[in-house]
Symmetry: C2
Subunit: 207 residues, 2 copies
DNA sequence: AACACAAATTTACTTCCAGTAACATACGAC
DNA sequence: GTCGTATGTTACTGGAAGTAAATTTGTGTT
């Protein structure tokens, strides 16, 4: 199943010969992604280390603790989602249609990274860093779909908008991934029906 | 701080004298609520047992594991929220105003039960039972604010609506509780601006 | 009254996992 | 060579969830 190196030649301790690290940060993250795909969202740190054919302290020194890993993989997920959304937007110009296409892109990205999404959303309380991530993706969305003169000057309202939209997406997605209760397109259409009317007004009404 | 019984007379093992259980389910839940208020959302099961002046196996036998406790306390929270919403609705008749008042009620209830809310929302993956709870509160909301002929016949769309609204509420609330970034009334107004336009249409548009 | 079984409780354990301390090996500078 | 530093691994600590076994009391039976 895994594309990793040969089994495990049982490395001895000590610095490896040839001045070469045996796994840099990117390799560890890639291994983490593989391991999460294989073991599911409640993978242990040990599993991750094994998949990277590396010992736990290396993992901790290079990436940090579980929370840090979640942050790193969140970034990765956001990139995936962004890519997928960009692709989905191709050929759509009417705003509402664009929005719905973007939702489909989001859902596609998440569905293709099921376990990863659940891993990333497993933690309960948000750290400061995580909050920044949430803001990042939310700001992207809002900027993308409504260059709103209304919200531009109101950071507090912007946050609430961002959180609302992300929250709706997140919970819907968690539930959907849990039992696939409908088609992706149906879900996108319904989600759009809930959120678009509110977003649409951002361009218009002054209050 | 705690209203519990005297310190801890160090019970010996064995069935208590007088044919009386020393804590029934309701007492344990009440103690759990007290303990969560005191210790915060990441309270341990041990803490809960101590607060109830009872040992862990009793707790497990009477209430079940952590997930079961979350379910039980979710029910309790939903009751609190329902009560608060009912109170908040007094004197409002116009639908949008009603909705906003309800949001204020929700926020008030949650704010008054900060740790409890975070405890209940800490778990990542939803169990079957939890999903039923989510449906329960969502259906309440939808039924309350839009007796929609449109959604009545479409259970799939109803679920997505419910999840969206709950998700928006949940994440906004988590973030808000984390740093109180604005006034309750402001938050309620903004949340309403996001969600109301979509909900409003439930009464009207056929698609 | 004595005995046996059921009910209610605690102590003390097992298991699992995150995170870390201590130790081992190799490279580079002098 | 030798000393410090970079890079590893083994093996441990600590804490929390959940459970098995032991302990005491109530209740029914003969």
């Amino acid at each position: 199943m895994s594309t990793a190196a040969e089994p495990n030649p049982r490395r001895r301790p000590g610095r490896p010969r040839g001045g070469q690290l045996l796994a840099d940060r990117d390799e560890l993250l890639a291994a983490a992604i593989r391991a999460i795909r294989a073991h599911g969202p409640d993978v242990t740190m040990e599993d991750l280390a094994v998949e990277a054919t590396v010992s736990k302290p290396i993992l901790y020194r290079t990436i940090g603790d579980r929370a840090a890993l979640v942050v790193a993989l969140s970034e990765w997920m956001i990139d995936q989602i962004t890519t997928e959304i960009s692709a989905a937007l191709e050929g759509h110009t009417e705003p509402r249609t664009q929005f719905e296409a973007a939702v489909r892109g989001y859902l596609a990205a998440v569905h293709a990274n099921r376990s990863l999404f659940l891993f990333v959303n497993a933690g309960g309380q948000p750290t400061d860093q995580l909050r920044r991530l949430v803001e990042r993706s939310a700001q992207m969305m809002i900027a993308l779909f409504a260059a709103s003169p209304e919200l531009a000057g109101d950071p507090v309202a912007s946050r609430t908008w961002a959180y609302s939209i992300l929250g709706a997406f997140e919970i819907v997605t968690v539930m959907w991934l849990d039992d696939d209760y409908c088609e992706l397109d149906t879900l996108a259409a319904d989600l759009t029906r809930v959120l678009w009317p509110g977003i649409e007004r951002l361009d218009q009404s002054p209050a």
